[in-house]
Symmetry: D2
Subunit: 308 residues, 4 copies
């Protein structure tokens, strides 16, 4: 039945791709084919349902924010990580400076750019980019993840706003490393090339409390998985997180490369690729697919006991 729902979701999603646009503020992203769309649903029982374009590589972009958050929590623990970054939704757009100005200078949460830069400033001190890449490959069970050099260069050339945010954080004393090194690390992380499959694998690990259910290997602590899922739920879709939680109820993180990573807690990881974006920067076809699947399969977090 899940296969039929996925097939139908693809049809519905494809009908939406024409209404969106690929990201253009990073020129290299503008080259993506807006008609591409695909979804993988991986279950803890080992079932793998893939529909559409699920092997195309694309840059992970903001979905990397939950990867670096997870790894930082593993290395430093929540007490240290949340010293310089909060856990609150900001109610503002992803690249806002507004909320930095009001409070004590710490970013609202790790999934806005400012917060992710703080996380990167922790990581860059302890973890080389090569080590990070190795860990991301393991979490995604995808040894073919590499740095997309073209995207990385394109982003490096259009970095003024993130550079402004990073220098502002430094001036507030909440950045833990050199600004330019932090930005370099952050941009490289955003430029990793993944597939819908890679994302589904990482989603499954989160759904299973940090364990790869196929091998039984623990990859993240239970607490790390719980924190990441909760923050995905409250902050993962920027200033549309609240409405998405009500309508879909699946902790999800999006990236402007067209990716979506969803976690149906206790059972499923979902990876989506669809570079045509809505006006908030989320995959327009992907959102439609996720919403349909959630409704048909009763995947809303406050509806899941009927599945068991």
């Amino acid at each position: 039945m899940l296969k039929q729902v996925a097939d139908q979701a693809l049809v519905l999603g494809q009908a939406k791709t024409g209404q969106g646009h690929v990201a253009t503020y990073i020129p290299e992203l503008g080259k993506a084919d807006p008609n591409k769309l695909g979804m993988c649903i991986y279950t803890k029982e080992g079932e793998k349902i893939c529909v559409g374009d699920t092997t195309t590589r694309f840059s992970v972009q903001s979905i990397s924010k939950i990867m670096s958050l997870a790894i930082a929590l593993e290395i430093y623990g929540p007490a240290v990580v949340f010293e310089n970054v909060g856990m609150e939704p900001s109610g503002d757009a992803f690249n806002s400076l507004l909320k930095l100005e009001n409070a004590d200078g710490t970013p609202y949460n790790p999934l806005i750019n400012a917060g992710a830069l703080v996380i990167s400033s922790y990581m860059v001190q302890m973890y080389t980019f090569e080590e990070l890449l190795e860990t991301v490959r393991k979490l995604c069970m995808d040894p073919d993840i590499v740095l997309d050099i073209k995207v990385c260069h394109s982003e490096m050339s259009n970095l003024s706003r993130n550079r402004a945010i990073a220098y502002l954080l430094e001036s507030k004393g909440v950045l833990n490393a050199n600004v330019e090194k932090t930005l370099d690390y952050y941009v490289k992380l955003c430029s990793l090339s993944v597939t819908a499959e890679s994302l589904a694998n990482f989603g499954l690990v989160l759904a299973c409390d940090g364990v790869n259910p196929l091998t039984g290997e623990r990859m993240l602590k239970v607490e790390t998985a719980r924190i990441v899922k909760t923050i995905m739920l409250t902050c993962g879709m920027y200033d549309g997180s609240g409405e998405f939680a009500v309508r879909v109820g699946i902790p999800t993180k999006s990236g402007v490369g067209g990716g979506l990573l969803g976690v149906v807690d206790g059972g499923l990881g979902i990876g989506i690729y669809g570079p045509s974006l809505d006006e908030k920067g989320n995959s327009i076809g992907g959102i439609a697919m996720l919403e349909y699947v959630s409704k048909e399969m009763d995947y809303h977090m406050f509806g899941n006991r009927k599945r068991g």
Copy 2:
């Protein structure tokens, strides 16, 4: 085992009450005894665990916001209700005017004062206060809920800020009824006197998707319960909602009367009374109890599959 955990939670909570203060901005609330503390946990199997002061009556205050939201959703449906109020956490304090100014004038969500006033402006047109009272009594399985006249008068005499919010909403065209009638309705709703038991009962109905598990009677639609729980999770604890979701993971709503209503989805309703408040206006002892119970019993929403 749940009983022992509840007993221990009470001990821990009582150790906290001295660090808070009762609300004083409504003079009548200032008369509460700060040492009072009690908790009821009601399960769908019919178990009722009560520790401490669980029969003291106190005014429901902001917890009424989830009652009126639930009833409005039943009467009007989500499409109408969310025309003039959003579903996003605001990142601001409960009585903030800041976010009203920026957007299209619609309040961020139904659990801030502005949003609850919009909801009241729907209700006041279709539902007399007597009808409302009757429905609240049923949802709480508590026929003794009455209007606390003293609290109501005290609040009516200290209404400048809410009156400002209501007139501002009217000027933006997002209030659906006469301002003074809406305020009167809103204040009466806040002044209903409940107990920890009443709150646990309503919590249990939400946990069971709108059904009273003891009688099998459906009291709310599945969709209503799901929406209310989700918004409690993302917006229920004001500008501390995100951190509370990470640490405790139980959809909860607080009131400055000292009440807390928590929902462990699929199984439990929790009602708490403890009028000594922390600096955010939440029951200081109650928060400590909820956090301890969640941790010991693994009630975090992203940890619940291990219970089954």
Copy 3:
């Protein structure tokens, strides 16, 4: 020569009236004839130059803010008046609530609605409306100023936003009298019917440091006149005050009834009527006239020594 300049200014101003709109948020104001335009320039030597429609009565609206400020300064002195209202331009629109939220609750200056309400709350305690009316008639040398009942009623029926501001001020503890009495007083003051001539007379008194140059009678203290002129210059044209000071350099206050009152310090009072407004709410023809006259006659405050 001044007469020719005034005549030419009228021609230029009339060419602009078609590009603006009369105010409609108060329905009664919407009935004004957008083609009307007139200007009076009164000099301390007794010269009176009037061009266009200078005897039409219209409601004084926000220009009353400098009248009540002047009278409050006379009665209470600056130390008391500026306890609950500041002297800073806000950089925001005239009816903004934004800046009230940030600071200590005191309005930025007496020429935004919030500030004028604070001033009214001082006045209402000490000065009946009849006394106020008498003083305004004297300052404007116009015994025919009356309350325009229709405008007053129209405004009273559209008072939500000002009512919101007033209740907010009350909740902050910066209003000195009953909210509804203050609003009533404020609206009546805004509804006084003046002419371009009345405004020119009051402007001349300010230009002459508080003395009626024709009779020699002192009507305001030197200090009062100085404070009022300075605040007109920095705050008189709302969020366009800075640019107006640079380009025109004449302390000016506008009202949505179409009036403008300008003060060429040391010599002239200027009154203008032109109900067609630009998007900031200032008389579109009147602004054009003032700018032309300032340039041709070198009336900019930092150009005036060449006149002597």
Copy 4:
């Protein structure tokens, strides 16, 4: 008489220096002697009244903002200069990012850091630093002005916030040159070493509409001088500009190096040095001196006709 007033002002100012603090956010500034205080008043008739420490060199800091504004107006004219920077007081602190976020990205005025950076981005393209230095020396009639290398280095090492502002401006498309070159130019300009005498000379040129009254040489256009004086009046003292205009009424610009430059239009230039600052970053002794002199000599802009 002016000499006695100046002497008395020095006594009053010295009594204040103990209540302030030297700037420390740029470490090199922290080395200044907080007890230093001096004032020069230069008149168009050639009178030079100097009291206290008027030959000590100190860095010009934000007072350079009126120098670069004046020069940019000379080179580009107001139409070009005000394309990317406004003329409105912001109501916020000098280094605020808040107002950049709301509007179209253009800074509120040329005297906040963001605005001065835009001005520098114009200058850096057309005017080498050596040319700029030469012009500043002429405007200040002080050939000994040099770049203070220590201050410049110290500031370059503490530039995170200004760097953030500059990159933000670049991301908004309102910076006209390379960010790092603009910052370098801006910091050098702030690091020029002046004396109270240099500032009095430049003030006198502004007071005389751009002419050096001693030589008769025109150094700035009339329009340039008028614009600079007006913007000094409305924006020169940051979020205290409005109150300063009311109380003192002398267009003034301050710098955290301890300098103040005041212009009594039509007659006088005033230069002050006093590195002990109040909490807004203005010379605490200098403000007291200016206020006293203004009051005693009737130098308020709306009191000046009695002097003639």
